[in-house]
Symmetry: none
Subunit: 222 residues, 2 copies
DNA sequence: TAGCACAACTCCTCAGACAAGTAGAGAAGC
DNA sequence: GCTTCTCTACTTGTCTGAGGAGTTGTGCTA
């Protein structure tokens, strides 16, 4: 009857669970029965059901919390962010960057560790050195901005920054090429000012300087 | 070093493996060392390394073939925002919301059209009415916030807001349920204040009020 | 009534054993 | 020389039993 059943039990169990979740047996955010209940229910061992749960956790359908249980976090399937960015106006992207970096800058002023500070200063120094090559300069600038976002210790903001980087990198290179000049002393001074504000834990000043800097960037766009 | 280790070993192992894969230690399509090699290498038991592999298999990074081994099928999973959000601390999500909504609020004050204004006021009225049901109240509140973001006329910010909505909706419902009360007059007044600031094109005030409002929200989280 | 200790429940990790599948080396046959 | 078969070492798959660790609700105490 079952001519070939190459599929491992754990995979089958994962499929079976996903089917029951899709079927509405357990709603979003609700708790599944325990491993010790589920395993005999599906006729498999405990480690097998655990691997099935891990698989679905990897897909983002379930999360496990030690001591509490296993919970449903999604019924399925994400969507496409790359397209949105590609279509979007570069000005809109910069505005989003402003939103993120200004807030990150303020948070960095509150949360930065000595290690963060060292990393930021190293990045600033690197940016100072890379003033000849155009692309290298943009990348060094991006790295400095990223080090600030990292100091905010918020993974969401970091991820957002990284999402926007490729799109704004291209725009900045084009802009600097048009301008015919890059790596001015004024720019470098602005960055130093932001770092100083973060170092002295002045969130308001850090935010204001970051906003000013990015608004100036936006103003130079086509 | 790592003082906190709330993260289960299996998750850490998965992360470590992913890091090494990203680092190019094993190329696409290549075979990883066996479980019995990997486990002592990372200092964990075999079942733990198996769960880590299952997790990455669920994310589409690895595939296993009984008798043959474990193979790399992708160097990086596609940037899946839903997953990032699901894993993230709710406080981090609210901080990202602050970044986006504060900026959107300021932009809305500059760009809102009469039609935007009407939509926002309608949403505020709707929120005022939906004070009985808990979930309806949260949804009406979200709709009001969204109408403000829409008035900023920036598709990226709108998309970001929508991305964060499901995750924060769940958290807000839980929070209000715990608090046992919702839809206070104070909250309603705050929203009216933000709308007034936007109506009178006061970007600074709109931003400040929005920040204040969301910070209060963040403070009430578990 | 408010605070606290505790017990029951949950997931987490390990170790050991055996089953099932794969791939390569080497023997056997043509 | 080439194909085919078999055997073997190695790999993942599965189960079980034992503790460890975190969470949650209950009931007792003050």
């Amino acid at each position: 009857m079952t001519q070939l059943r190459r599929e491992p039990l754990a995979e089958q169990a994962a499929e079976a669970l996903l089917e029951r979740i899709r079927g509405g047996e357990w709603a979003l955010g609700q708790k599944l029965p325990g491993e010790t209940t589920l395993a005999p229910q599906l006729g498999v061992g405990r480690s097998t059901i655990r691997e099935a749960i891990r698989h679905l956790a990897g897909r983002g359908v379930l999360v496990t919390r030690q001591g509490a249980g296993v919970f449903v976090t999604a019924l399925d399937e994400p969507e496409d962010w790359d397209q949105v960015l590609r279509r979007a106006d570069i000005a809109a992207v910069i505005e989003a960057r402003i939103a993120i970096e200004v807030e990150a800058s303020a948070l960095a002023a509150e949360r930065r560790t000595p290690a963060d500070l060292r990393a930021m200063r190293r990045a600033a120094q690197e940016r100072e050195l890379k003033r000849s090559g155009l692309e290298e300069h943009v990348d060094a600038d991006t790295a400095l901005h990223r080090s600030i976002v990292l100091a905010a210790h918020n993974p969401i903001l970091t991820e957002l920054f990284d999402t926007f980087t490729p799109r704004s990198r291209q725009a900045m290179i084009e802009m600097l090429r048009r301008r015919g000049e890059h790596g001015s002393d004024a720019d470098q001074l602005t960055h130093v000012g932001i770092l100083e504000a973060i170092a002295s834990r002045d969130a308001v000043l850090a935010a204001a300087l970051t906003r000013e800097h990015l608004l100036a960037l936006k103003a130079e766009l086509p």
